[in-house]
Homo-oligomer: 145 residues x 2
């Protein structure tokens, strides 16, 4: 058989990264009206859901490195969308009034993202794929730690 279009298509490193870039682009377009990049939006949604949440918990929830969370929080605080309150070594994050106000728009953008990839992939494929990628991500993460 001839060489496939994408010779690395049997490599999970390749495929997973290609998929992540693709769906990230979709999400960026969907979140663009809110003025926030998807990662920032997800952090802000989490903070809205759990006012007073700590960076460590945000990192766990989003499977991100703590330093990454610090950077995202800096940006959101710089835009006046949340505030960090230090108490000892701990930090507690609360949404600001502006941060609360955009919350519905973020949820709408999130739904829009979902609708877009479901339209391309089909609902059941999307669901299976999401579930498969999620459990694999968890399996890989717990392996390393």
């Amino acid at each position: 058989m001839a060489e496939p279009l994408h010779p690395y298509c049997r490599c999970l490193f390749y495929s997973a990264n290609a998929l992540a870039r693709g769906v990230t682009r979709l999400a960026e377009e969907a979140f663009a009206p809110s003025g926030l990049a998807p990662s920032l939006a997800f952090v802000l949604m989490s903070v809205n859901r759990h006012p007073g949440i700590q960076p460590k918990e945000l990192a766990r929830i989003m499977m991100l490195h703590p330093s990454t969370v610090t950077r995202l929080l800096e940006k959101l605080e710089g835009r006046g969308l949340l505030r960090r309150r230090s108490e000892g070594k701990a930090v507690f994050v609360h949404p600001s009034a502006a941060g609360k106000k955009v919350y519905p728009a973020l949820q709408a953008a999130w739904r829009h993202t979902y609708a877009r990839y479901v339209r391309v992939l089909g609902e059941s494929v999307a669901r299976d794929l999401t579930e498969g990628t999620y459990s694999a991500a968890v399996a890989l993460e717990t392996t390393s730690a």
Copy 2:
């Protein structure tokens, strides 16, 4: 039911990115002995496979933006692993002697990456996941273009 450990586990943006980061970390560890980051390694493997390949074709094969390929080629050329020859507006990329020499090590690292995630996920799960992420990535890409 209680809130899941990762409240975004039903979101493909979240899951796909988490998976990509996890498998990228695995690949980085596997490719570390070669001294190359995985993306650089994949480009160099492609160049070894197709001496004289053009950046545009590399971008297509790897599903990367052409500018990204330029950056990767810059780095590889800076390390003396390949050479770019300009001919009109086209560029042809050839592996250098050093670039040819590391090729077997890169293939070994690639196999090692595969072995590691198969050990965590199981062979059939890994295969299905790779296939699913690959076709979804292709579907999303062709949608945008």
